[in-house]
C-alpha cells in the first residue's frame, strides 16, 4: 500500500528497476484519481499553449488571426528581436523594474512585519490598512495613482508647488526620465503587503525561547534579529523574494493602464511589449518568439524556486 503508513519511506524513488516502477504506478493507481482533475486542467490550459507558442515562433505570420498563411522562417523572428534597439531598451526597463520593485517591496514588507510583531494598541487596524493595497484590483490601483500623478490636478504635484519645491507640477508619468520610477512606486505600493504577510507568518515560527535566551545573554535587538530571526527565516525569505521577482517580471496591468508603455517605450517592460506586438501590431510570430525567450528566463528562475521549495520539503520530511 502506498498508503499514509508509507510516509516514513519515500516510495517510488526512480532508482528501482522498470518493472518496480510500473508496479508502483499500478499499486498507487487510486492515488492519481485525486490529482487527476488538477492535472487535466493544467494540461489543457498550459501544456497545449506552450507547445503552440514554441511552434508559432518559427513562423512568419500575416496580420490577423488567419494563421493558415503562415510560412516557416527558422530563427528569423529571434534574430529580428535580438537585433532591434527596442529589445535592449525594454530589457533594461524590465531588469530595473523587477529588481527595484522586488528588493524594495521585500525590505519594506520585512521591516513592517518586524515592526508589527510586538503587541501594541492599534496594531490590528494598522495591519488591516497595510494589506488593502494588495487586495484591491491593480486596475483600481492604477487609476488611483494616475489621478495622484495627474500633471495638472495631481495631489503630489500640487503639494510640491505649494511647498515651493517646483514652479509647476512635474509630469511624473509623461516624462521619459521619471515614468519608470513613478510606476515602480505604484508597483511597490501594491506588493509590499504580500511580503509583509509572508514574513509575519514566518515570524510566528521563530521560537520565542531562542530570542529570550539571546536577550538574557545580552544580545541587542539588532543582534537578536541578525543572529536568530534572520537565519531562521532564510527559507521564507527566499520563497518570498522569488515569488515577488516572478510577479514583477510578469507585471502587466500597472504599466499598461497607466502609460501603455510610453512615452517612447520608456515604461515598456517585456510583457507589455509582447502584448503590444501580438494584439496591437499583430506580429504573432515575433511575439511568440519573445514568449519563448521569456520561458527560458522564467524556467531559470523556476529552477531556483523549485530548489528553494524542495529544500523546505526535504527539511520537513527529515523532521
Amino acid at each position: 500500500m502506498t498508503d499514509v503508513t508509507a510516509q516514513s519511506r519515500p516510495a517510488a524513488r526512480p532508482g528501482g528497476t522498470r518493472s518496480d516502477l510500473l508496479r508502483q504506478i499500478w499499486i498507487s493507481r487510486a492515488d492519481y484519481l485525486y490529482v487527476l482533475p488538477a492535472i487535466v486542467v493544467m494540461l489543457v490550459v498550459i501544456a497545449y499553449p506552450i507547445y503552440y507558442t514554441v511552434d508559432l515562433s518559427f513562423y512568419k505570420t500575416p496580420p490577423g488571426l488567419q494563421l493558415k498563411d503562415k510560412s516557416f522562417v527558422w530563427f528569423d523572428n529571434y534574430t529580428t528581436i535580438l537585433t532591434s534597439g527596442v529589445f535592449w531598451r525594454v530589457t533594461l526597463n524590465t531588469v530595473i523594474w523587477t529588481i527595484a520593485s522586488t528588493l524594495i517591496a521585500f525590505v519594506l514588507g520585512y521591516a513592517l512585519a518586524l515592526a508589527l510583531h510586538r503587541e501594541f494598541a492599534g496594531r490590528g487596524i494598522m495591519r488591516a490598512i497595510f494589506i488593502v493595497p494588495w487586495v484591491i484590483s491593480a486596475v483600481a490601483a492604477s487609476y488611483i495613482w494616475k489621478w495622484i500623478y495627474h500633471s495638472d490636478f495631481g495631489i503630489i504635484g500640487v503639494v510640491m508647488v505649494q511647498l515651493g519645491i517646483v514652479d509647476r507640477p512635474p509630469n511624473f508619468i509623461d516624462s521619459v526620465n521619471t515614468v519608470l520610477p513613478s510606476l515602480i512606486v505604484v508597483n511597490i505600493w501594491r506588493e509590499f503587503p504580500f511580503a509583509m504577510i509572508m514574513m509575519m507568518a514566518g515570524l510566528q515560527t521563530v521560537p520565542e525561547q531562542l530570542l529570550r535566551a539571546a536577550q538574557v545573554d545580552g544580545a541587542s535587538a539588532w543582534q537578536r534579529f541578525w543572529h536568530v530571526t534572520f537565519p531562521h527565516l532564510r527559507g521564507v525569505s527566499t520563497v518570498t523574494v522569488l515569488l515577488l521577482a516572478v510577479a514583477n517580471f510578469n507585471s502587466f496591468i500597472i504599466p499598461w493602464i497607466m502609460t501603455g508603455g510610453g512615452p517612447s517605450n520608456a515604461s515598456h517592460i517585456w510583457i507589455t511589449h509582447i502584448y503590444e506586438l501580438a494584439f496591437g501590431r499583430q506580429r504573432w510570430g515575433v511575439a511568440s518568439a519573445y514568449s519563448v525567450l521569456l520561458f527560458i528566463i522564467l524556467m531559470t528562475l523556476g529552477y531556483f524556486y523549485v530548489r528553494a521549495l524542495s529544500q523546505g520539503e526535504r527539511r520537513e520530511r527529515g523532521a
Binding site: M42, V132, V246
Partner: protein, 292 residues
C-alpha cells in the same frame, strides 16, 4: 549591586532607539499606504468641477454622492452597465472559487499524504504554472477557446482563472494537510473507514480554515483579473468590472470623481471579504507555506 544597572542602562536606550525608528517607519508607511486610498475616497465625493479646483480642496466644500448614485442607478445607462459588470464579476468569481476548491482539495490531499511515482514532479509542475505570465498563454488560449466555442462566454474566464488559482491553492492546502496528524486517519481506518471516508469525515472538517483561505485567494484573484477578460470578451454586457470600468472611462477621461467612485466600489467587496477572513489566510500561510 551597581554592576547590573551599568550593564542595563545602555541596552535600554538602544532598544528605545529601535522603538522610535520603528514608530517613524510605521508612520511613513501609513502615509504611503493610506493617502492614495483616502484621496480616492475624497475625490469620489466631489463634483467634477470641484475635483479640478486649484488649489485642491482637501475636503470638498460641497460633498456629494452624485457619482455613486450615478453608478448604482439602474435607470440610466451608466448605472445599468456598472451593475451588470458587477454582477458578471460576482458570477465569474464565485463559480471559479467553487470549482477551484473542488479541484484543489483532493489534489492537495494526495500530494500531502500519498507517495505515488511522479508525485514530486507533478507537484512542482503544478507550482511552476505560477511562473508564467498570462500574456504567453493569450494567443493559444484564445484559439483554444474558439475551438471549444467558449469565446465571448464567461466559461472561458472560469476555465483560465481556475488554472492560475490552482497552484497556490494546492500549495496552501497541502501545507494544511501536512499539519493534520496522520494518526487521526489511521484510527479511523482501524475503525473500519475506507481511505475516502477517512478523508471526507476526518480530514475535511479539520481543514475548513485552509479551505476558506483557498477560497478567498481564488475569489480575489478572479475578481481582480484583467488581461484575459480584456482579451476574451468583447460584448459590452459580458464584461467584468476591471475591463468594464476601463472601457467606460477611456471614453470619459475627465470624470475623475466617477472613476474614483467606481474604483472604490470595485475594491469594497474584496477588501471586506479579506479583512473578515484574513486570520484564516495568515494561518494557512503560517501552518502551510512557512512552517517547515
Amino acid at each position: 549591586m551597581s554592576a547590573p544597572t551599568v550593564v542595563h542602562a545602555p541596552r535600554r536606550r538602544r532598544i528605545d532607539g529601535w522603538r522610535w525608528a520603528s514608530r517613524f517607519f510605521l508612520v511613513f508607511m501609513l502615509i504611503y499606504t493610506a493617502v492614495p486610498m483616502a484621496w480616492m475616497m475624497v475625490t469620489s465625493i466631489k463634483s467634477g468641477f470641484a475635483a479640478m479646483a486649484f488649489p485642491p480642496e482637501w475636503w470638498p466644500s460641497e460633498p456629494t454622492l452624485a457619482s455613486y448614485r450615478n453608478l448604482l442607478d439602474p435607470q440610466n445607462s451608466v448605472g445599468r452597465d456598472f451593475l451588470r459588470f458587477f454582477w458578471n464579476s460576482l458570477y465569474v468569481s464565485t463559480l471559479t472559487t467553487i470549482l477551484a476548491v473542488l479541484v484543489a482539495v483532493p489534489a492537495a490531499y494526495a500530494f500531502s499524504r500519498f507517495r505515488f511515482p511522479g508525485r514530486q514532479f507533478l507537484f512542482f509542475s503544478v507550482l511552476l504554472r505560477n511562473m508564467f505570465p498570462a500574456v504567453i498563454f493569450l494567443v493559444p488560449l484564445f484559439i483554444l477557446m474558439r475551438f471549444l466555442g467558449l469565446v465571448n462566454t464567461h466559461g472561458s474566464l472560469v476555465l483560465t482563472y481556475l488554472t492560475f488559482g490552482l497552484p497556490l491553492a494546492i500549495w496552501l492546502l497541502k501545507g494544511f494537510y501536512d499539519n493534520i496528524p496522520i494518526q487521526l486517519e489511521q484510527a479511523a481506518r482501524i475503525d473500519g473507514a475506507t481511505r475516502f471516508q477517512a478523508f471526507v469525515l476526518i480530514v475535511m472538517p479539520l481543514s475548513v480554515p485552509g479551505i476558506i483561505a483557498t477560497a478567498i485567494y481564488s475569489f480575489i484573484g478572479a475578481w481582480n483579473e484583467y488581461i484575459y477578460a480584456y482579451t476574451f470578451l468583447s460584448k459590452n454586457e459580458q464584461l467584468t468590472l476591471p475591463v468594464g470600468v476601463q472601457r467606460f472611462f477611456s471614453e470619459n477621461t475627465t470624470d475623475f470623481p466617477g472613476l474614483m467612485a467606481a474604483s472604490f466600489m470595485m475594491s469594497v467587496p474584496v477588501v471586506v471579504l479579506f479583512l473578515i477572513l484574513q486570520k484564516y489566510f495568515v494561518r494557512a500561510l503560517t501552518e502551510g507555506a512557512v512552517k517547515h
